[in-house]
Symmetry: D2
Subunit: 311 residues, 4 copies
């Protein structure tokens, strides 16, 4: 694994069969499609991978399939999302067992924890294995933002190797990047998880992107990233604008009928199903499925974005 | 198990050794002390039991020890707290294996779920075993309150056998009790999780109480409950007032230094340690420990409440 | 004004004409009905009085009409609700001008203020006039709860004369009452704003109640209060249970169609209109009105509660 | 006023004397400095102008001074921030009286309002005068984000002329810009209120910026904007990076001691005081002042940003 994770690192969807088992063939096809598109790593078991919904046996199965399929071609990061420290450490052991290169974890949630305890959480997890640790900043799920000064301390002594910032707050992302640069933390990987402002994040000095939408259009995000690194910012902008419109698939489902997680994750899976990458758009219980007419709208949005549905 | 759970059902603390293993002897002493005091059931692995902090192996060990110690004398309820449905179902299987009588579960958290999906969550869990299911309403951890109409539907068709209401909102608790009574749901167990208004809850028709502080003073809560059922409301009130002052132990730790979970759970354990029930006041990582001077204050508060520290 | 405000102090609705002017006759009839029922004081311009929606000229008109109608028979409290300190002080001047006995104010909102600044806010307001100040604890509007230690400091040196606790958290209300008692603050008026647990609040030592529903059924709340002070707790309980069912009027409007403020305030006004107390159920813009069929349901609920609609 | 507001529109600080009166000379100097720097308009009474803290008489005084000083050179926008519709309309009348070109208003706050009522709020305000209305999206103060579909409807029929987006969420800003473009709304002014990502916002098609920090360094923001409109994106980036570091002044005050509003607004005023633009760094009650040593740190940060303190 390179010292500094960069590029496009999609958080893999977890394809399921109709009876909610891991669909191995579909997962392999999806993983392969990401590698073929030029992704620099993959994140298994991120929020987009429905990690919150998967029992441990299914989590392990996902790691087994993905690491087997990738076979060392790129690093595999594993989401080790759980309520608190020692539960996370159990998932770290699984990640280690399957040969993952790194783990991605949030601050604790459910319990009422203070900043000193969040720091202890990350330090304990980092000390529990040789795997790299990335801090995952996801206020919408965890209930609060990671404090910038805490993240910098963790980066400074290499407790964490980087951050996946899914806060949607690009001002604070930029501040973190600047503070890390001012502190000489050249190896810190500060990745954005915001699909819609990747060109901006890269201009600001972000290391790369972890885009849920990258499951559906990995080539688009790789093209965006490559244009940015080649200083072709107009091309990056145009690609981002195209992907922005594609991202409307996550708002197709009626939020009065199904939850927002189901609406977004179901849309990614519906798109992958329509594109022929996965065999079934099933999401995990208790998420409700998209309606047939919603899937038809997604089909139109794929065509608008110059993708080619096969169904 | 009786049709309608009533009485005092403490959510057991999980005593730990200094190296954060389940302290079996202490857990047995604590469990026995609750039975000796006249508790009608016990809840293992509630929030007070640090369920959010315990890895699965420790959760199972707790169930094994508690069910072994109780040996059928009273029902054992198991907290099966996890992010979403199928993860909860795995914990239900463990509860079943160890002979628990019922499980207690919250709505999903971390993911963005709507009310229809919460309903599906409870129905799926209820359908996964023969154990009774209690809905646990804990907005401070889950991020929102269970809607009353949803709870009533689940009670009406016996998807859930009852509710543990830890919302702290006694107006909505009373509304739920009234709506359940008006709907003829005589077997619904509507338990309060609020330690400070138990007399009120019982006057309003609540079935019983699940008091974290009941670990420290089970006899107090049983006396309160018994006085209430005997219509000795003045005695119930006096007992509640005494327990209210004892409850100040959870505010002793400085919230600027350690988190609120650690401050409360650490205080219960410090009290149990001072009372000689458990051997060590250790809490799970990443919670920070109470300071020696804070424990001294707790000792004074125990004395004020007419309890007898042995340390 | 007595040293210690007690009893039933309804927060007056503000009756409006169809073109959203203060309906003086209706406001006088409403005020008179509360005095006739035995209320010990009235609160003009509380949240129930749509204070947040009324321009300053209408606020002044309300104070003029209510103080004129009451004519010294009972104290008139004035809600002086605004974003921050010096804006509140302007409203205090109006309250003074119209001869109000006291003002009721929340912590600042909209701006991001800390606890020390909240304390400064109350001290500045208290220092700006000779009127008594009551602290209004309304987390649902202000965004956070008043810290108990801050309230106690303000009570201890008589910066505030009391608290209206509309947090719905009866455990913290009881803690505040106990802490005030332990500190010897016998004159502190700790009033509950929770319509559904008044008997409980009075058992716990609250001084009285500020019930929005008291506009609709002041005699009910007075009967509840009188029974409680006579130690007839069973009568108090029965009355509270009747009022609990009457309170369902605030849930009649469809929350998917109109806001929760409009649903509750509109229901109070619809009930007062049906009972012949006010001439028009109009609420202030931008609140949407109840539908005719919703008003019919409210009519049924009034009958269920043994009230007598005249329309 | 041009059809489409663009460029740099600072939200004026409100300089105060030590006894918290509007400091007219300082306000005039500040306003003149912004015009001299090339700002295209000014916003009086924004959140940065402490609008939440100013009584109505002071608000009017600010409008009088600013419109007098500007004397038609550029449009003056007035913040008309208040809890609900008819209170806002009163402020609109003041804005009209003093010859402001437009008003800026948030959704209602304090009361519990739904989306249909927010829409009615903006429509009523727009109908109350001939002034243009800008919607102000400030979730941190109002408690929620303006829904994009609602904003688009208001833009489409010119109920509002534009939006000031201070949500900090650049992904949703970009989505709004794209949706407005796709709907052919060429005259919609979509301004960012985020000081740290202005180059990004302009690249994404934003019309301009309303930067609180623009009080301190208006020339910097004008240089950034001009570089962007000249397609000199590297210069824009460098300027933004310099301003990002200058923005650290708002984090100098200890958030454990004073509130976040006071820390930020006090820092802007301290900087203006050090730069000789205003005579006194006083903020409105109940905000606590910065400490002398904090002001010294701000002095260093000004020097780092190549500004020239005169004190």
């Amino acid at each position: 694994m390179p010292a500094n994770l960069t590029g496009v690192v999609p958080p893999l969807c977890t394809p399921l069969t109709a009876d909610q088992e891991v669909d191995v063939r579909s997962l392999e096809r999806l993983t392969s499609s990401l590698l073929a598109a030029g992704c620099t790593a993959v994140l298994a078991l991120g929020s987009t991978g429905e990690v919150a919904f998967l029992p441990d046996a299914m989590r392990r199965r996902v790691l087994e399939v993905v690491t087997g399929c990738v076979a060392g071609a790129v690093p595999v990061l594993a989401g080790v999302i759980d309520m608190t420290t020692m539960r996370v450490v159990d998932h770290v052991r699984d990640a280690e067992k399957y040969g993952c290169a790194a783990v991605v974890t949030t601050a604790p949630f459910y319990a009422r924890i203070n900043a000193a305890e969040i720091e202890r959480h990350f330090r304990t997890i980092a000390g529990s294995s040789d795997l790299r640790v990335y801090a995952y900043d996801l206020p919408v799920a965890v209930g609060r933002k990671l404090p910038a000064d805490l993240v910098l301390r963790l980066l400074a002594d290499e407790t964490v190797a980087g951050v996946k910032d899914s806060s949607g707050d690009d001002g604070s992302l930029r501040t973190l990047i600047a503070m890390a640069a001012d502190a000489g933390l050249e190896n810190a990987s500060i990745m954005t998880g915001s699909e819609l402002t990747v060109d901006n994040a890269l201009r600001m000095g972000a290391s790369g992107v972890v885009p849920g939408l990258g499951n559906v259009d990995p080539a688009g995000y790789v093209a965006l990233y490559d244009a940015a690194t080649d200083d072709n910012w107009e091309i990056a902008l145009a690609e981002q604008e195209r992907l922005l419109r594609l991202f409307r698939i996550i708002t197709v489902a009626d939020p009065a009928r199904i939850g927002r997680s189901a609406g977004a994750l179901g849309a990614f899976k519906a798109a992958l199903y329509l594109l022929g990458i996965i065999d079934c758009p099933q999401t995990m219980t208790p998420q409700l499925p998209l309606l047939a007419e919603e899937i038809s709208v997604i089909r139109e949005l794929l065509l608008d974005a110059e993708l080619t549905p096969v169904r």
